[in-house]
């Protein structure tokens, strides 16, 4: 059957048909996405300016929720704890994942095995590994404090880890770094493979040692990767929740209370839905700032990279 030239009416019909086909491809995903993601996002912004406990009629609140941010001690703590958590987790994870990547990029025995091992904490269920972490860092019987004790540290000076408000955040940060570094190691490994071997050969001819090669070639060449990784890590750190819920529940006191934990508490414990959305808005603004910085940087670099 050969197609013949058709009349204009049928041409228009074919155009409509093509359109329907295209939308039929999009629809199954888009409808779900619009209802369960786009709509709630819009509502999140509206809800931040409402009073609602989820049962009684919803009321317009104007800027009430916004002013409440300033008088809410817990919010202040959560905000600064989030910043502190991010401020330590990001550089530590960067350093550890870069170190691992450089190490496991060498032709050493069993490197594939070690790569898999390094990556495993990332895929492992957080609940399961948090339980282990809690037991290993148990202040009274945990192996970590046992080892510290054997090393001669006075029992009175042994850290209380998750149970101690001075050490709780440290415990959470160490746990997060351990959990995430394998993932970023993989990104760094990809970055390392993109560095031309000729650079190192030239440096060797000039008599550079390993340390100089690392500082003068590896690190600068990995600049874009490091930037990308630190942006992703920062955004991820702003969203920390699971490990805190599992290990410290925000405590002792408010020493590990973070923004998402505060959102969770305000919404599902206090049922102050409007205010919790206002806190969510703060989280959104933090992430947005980082994303804008990233875009600016990428645009600025557009000239020399693809």
């Amino acid at each position: 059957m050969k197609a013949r030239p058709r009349a204009p009416v049928s041409k228009r019909w074919r155009k409509v048909q093509r359109l329907l086909i295209a939308y039929s491809f999009i629809a199954p995903n888009f409808i779900g996405f619009a209802v369960f993601t786009l709509l709630p996002i819009v509502c999140a912004f509206l809800l931040a300016f409402m009073h609602w406990d989820g049962n009684n009629p919803i009321e317009f609140a104007g800027l009430d929720n916004f002013w409440k941010l300033f008088s809410d001690r817990a919010f202040k703590d959560a905000f600064w704890n989030t910043i502190i958590y991010t401020g330590f987790t990001v550089p530590l994870t960067l350093a550890c994942s870069l170190g691992l990547a450089v190490l496991l990029n060498q032709k050493i025995f069993g490197r594939n095995f070690f790569r898999t091992v390094a990556f495993f904490p990332y895929v492992a269920s957080l609940v399961a590994v948090a339980v282990v972490w809690n037991m290993i860092f148990n202040p009274e019987f945990g192996p970590v404090n046992m080892i510290l004790y054997e090393l001669g540290i006075d029992p009175k000076n042994l850290p209380g880890w998750a149970a101690d408000s001075d050490w709780a955040m440290v415990t959470i940060i160490m746990f997060s770094v351990w959990k995430m570094m394998g993932y970023f190691m993989v990104i760094y490994l990809a970055g390392l493979q993109g560095i031309s071997g000729e650079l190192y050969e030239a440096a060797e001819i000039d008599g550079a040692n390993a340390w100089q090669k690392f500082w003068r070639i590896t690190l600068p060449q990995l600049g874009p990767t490091t930037f990308f990784v630190s942006v992703m890590l920062t955004i991820q750190s702003f969203k920390v929740f699971d490990q805190i819920y599992m290990i410290t529940q925000g405590g002792p006191g408010t020493s590990t209370l973070v923004l998402v934990y505060h959102i969770y508490n305000e919404a599902f414990i206090s049922w102050d839905l409007g205010y919790s959305s206002m806190v969510a808005l703060v989280l959104f603004l933090l992430v947005l700032t980082i994303t804008i910085v990233q875009f600016r940087w990428v645009e600025g670099k557009d000239g020399d990279t693809a």
Binding site: P28, F33, V35, L39, A118, V123, V132, M135
Partner: protein, 253 residues
């Protein structure tokens, strides 16, 4: 880095009072396999595993089908508002779920979906990330391939099914493992949505186990090991794609 896992495995084979024995006995002299039998009767662990597996499989299948379907249109078809719609997807990738989890919960409640698995399926099966990942991959497949098939009289659905899907196995594998791992390990979602014991997932189940049997360390460890095994198996089987996927797309967690 592996030590916590070894410690966990070792503790799961011990009596509670031996778990904290120091110096650490890495290989228990009398491994207590009973822990692995007891956990199934102390809490409905089998049910939790079943719930998690059910959710994970449904979400993963839906995610793969609808994402690759939509991505085909975004990558290979022309239609009005294509870029606007795609921009809507992109814009939400950077938006943390935690920002809109509360309105989403209220919406699900209005729809009568709180305390159902359907709620978790709806919120995890249609992600911007899936569409984005698949579209990026389809962009790298030459248009000529689709053109040739069209001239031969193949329908768009045929092209998607017979040409694009078979060619996109690496991208599909990446998306499979990401979706599988995320859904299997999800904690906050089930924590908010599932309060009935018979609906709970394994992550929430272990959490429940800990609260109920806080002193039975050996059992807690055994249950945790059970929660890790499926992810470990999927990860080892598809590891190559996972690592390539991260390396090429970066991907947020």
């Amino acid at each position: 880095m592996l030590a916590p896992f070894v410690w966990m495995l070792s503790a799961s084979l011990k009596l509670d009072r031996d778990v904290f024995a120091f110096p650490i006995e890495w290989i228990p002299s009398e491994p207590r396999w009973r822990n692995y039998i007891d956990i199934w009767t102390k809490i409905p662990l089998g049910l939790f595993v079943y719930n998690t597996a059910k959710l994970t499989i449904i979400v993963t299948v839906l995610q793969l089908l609808t994402s690759s379907f939509a991505a085909y249109a975004f990558a290979k078809l022309r239609f009005p508002y294509r870029n606007t719609l795609f921009l809507a997807y992109i814009a939400t990738i950077a938006m943390p779920w935690q920002v809109y989890m509360v309105p989403q919960f209220l919406l699900m409640r209005e729809l009568g979906l709180s305390n159902t698995h359907l709620a978790l399926i709806c919120l995890q099966a249609f992600t911007a990330f899936g569409v984005f990942l698949m579209r990026q991959f389809y962009m790298s497949i030459p248009n000529e391939l689709c053109e040739a098939a069209r001239i031969d009289g193949m329908s768009e659905y045929g092209i998607w099914w017979r040409i694009m899907l078979p060619l996109s196995m690496p991208a599909l594998s990446t998306l499979t493992i990401f979706t599988f791992v995320t859904t299997w390990n999800d904690f906050l979602g089930p924590l908010i949505y599932l309060t009935k014991t018979e609906l709970k997932t394994i992550q929430i189940g272990i959490r429940m186990f800990i609260t109920q049997y806080s002193q039975e360390y050996g059992l807690i460890m055994a249950a945790s090991v059970v929660a890790l095994v499926p992810v470990l198996l999927v990860f080892l089987a598809l590891q190559r794609f996972f690592v390539e996927g991260i390396a090429s797309t970066g991907v947020k967690g």
